[in-house]
Symmetry: C2
Subunit: 238 residues, 2 copies
């Protein structure tokens, strides 16, 4: 039997949502786009309702969506790209268990000797993403798997479409800015198109620093990460 702390939730239940609602426009007024890592994906009309809630009620600039349910599931989000919104489709996620599904080998056909030619599911997702592509459609690829990042980055560049990548997993999850920049550089993918993301590394920087100065520690962690990204840039690569 689960015993929720009813009194706590009654008092604070929707306060977090209200705080979020008030913070989002503050960032946007300061010129900072807000991406909601919602990972939504449902049947078409439910996805359409989620998209409306995220882009209109919450008013965010971009969201992440899950690809498992296919074209009519991600489609209602992608339609919002025509209104200037961004949609990042989960492709190769940063977590350890990502291999369970995303690295399964899918058949692409047979070679001359009859052996199967295969490609991992994350590459099929990348192919679908290009098939569904409109300007504003991007891809989520973890910084924790630089080999896969390089493979997918190279594929997007060769497709001729501009696919912004959201690259989480730097910091707390173990990815490094150096590996990410190297993968982008090797595939001639312009750095300024992409978002290298650290969440816990910035959010919990005050714990790392053992300080009460939450905002100061977060700003220092952001500066440090930006420094690391800059450090590994090469001349000619933005």
């Amino acid at each position: 039997m689960v015993k929720p702390n009813i009194a706590f939730y009654e008092q604070y239940g929707f306060d977090g949502l209200k705080a979020l609602k008030s913070i989002i426009p503050k960032y946007q007024e300061a010129g900072i786009p807000v991406l909601m890592d919602a990972k939504r994906g449902d049947i078409g009309k439910t996805s359409a309702a989620y998209a409306k809630a995220l882009f209109e009620f919450w008013g965010v600039d971009a969201v992440t969506v899950a690809p498992y349910m296919g074209s009519d599931s991600v489609g209602p989000f992608i339609e919002w790209c025509e209104k200037g919104k961004g949609v990042y489709i989960l492709t190769r996620t940063s977590n350890v268990g990502a291999v369970d599904m995303q690295n399964l080998a899918v058949t692409k056909g047979s070679s001359v000797n009859g052996a199967a030619i295969t490609t991992p599911i994350y590459m099929k997702t990348a192919e679908k993403l290009i098939e569904w592509h409109k300007p504003g459609v991007g891809s989520v690829i973890g910084a924790t798997f630089p080999r896969e990042l390089e493979e997918i980055s190279g594929f997007f560049v060769s497709s001729g479409k501009e696919v912004p990548m959201l690259i989480p997993g730097v910091g707390a999850q173990g990815g490094t800015a150096q590996d990410v920049v190297a993968a982008l550089r090797k595939t001639n993918n312009p750095l300024e198109l992409h978002r290298i993301n650290s969440s816990s590394g910035i959010n919990y920087a005050y714990l790392e620093e053992k300080t009460d100065d939450y905002a100061g520690a977060a700003v220092r962690a952001i500066r440090k990460l930006n420094g690391e990204i800059g450090l590994h840039r090469l001349p000619g690569i933005a």
Copy 2:
């Protein structure tokens, strides 16, 4: 440029959530379990927070989760099965676009003549589900694809694990109770273990009936569906 109706949202923004919060215990007090079709799935610690929110704050009895991110993504939900909660993993969804990802052929090995032996992704998801299984773990399979339903149902029965199936897509989406019952019967899967679900067919029954009697129309639609399910039962199959 998206122009949200700010005044509308300011006034009613969280009222839907508050209504939902107050309705859930009403159903449970009447002995009706509440399943939230949340389709969540994130990195481990975020999934853990989603699970806590759904099972503790919202207090629902079961949720749906997405499998794309793998074991450490669905794991934090499955842990709640030990506290009597239910977790239905998306396996073969009811929407048209489901084929885009879920029907891709994954290699299982080679036959004696070297040709690849393959299985669809939805069957790999079903295999993973059995690997991750605890009592309370179930599977979402659309009523709109009775052939796949039969295939997955047969696999679950042969696994020896009890896997409750949530079977949406009856009614508005085009699935029929007759096809669902036939698939369960052919695979000796006991009918009472599963949930055959109609959402829009019940929710919008008042539109179908062209009446203002929302509740009455919903009740009549439920009775009709239950009648159809009952009609196709055979003696000896619950």
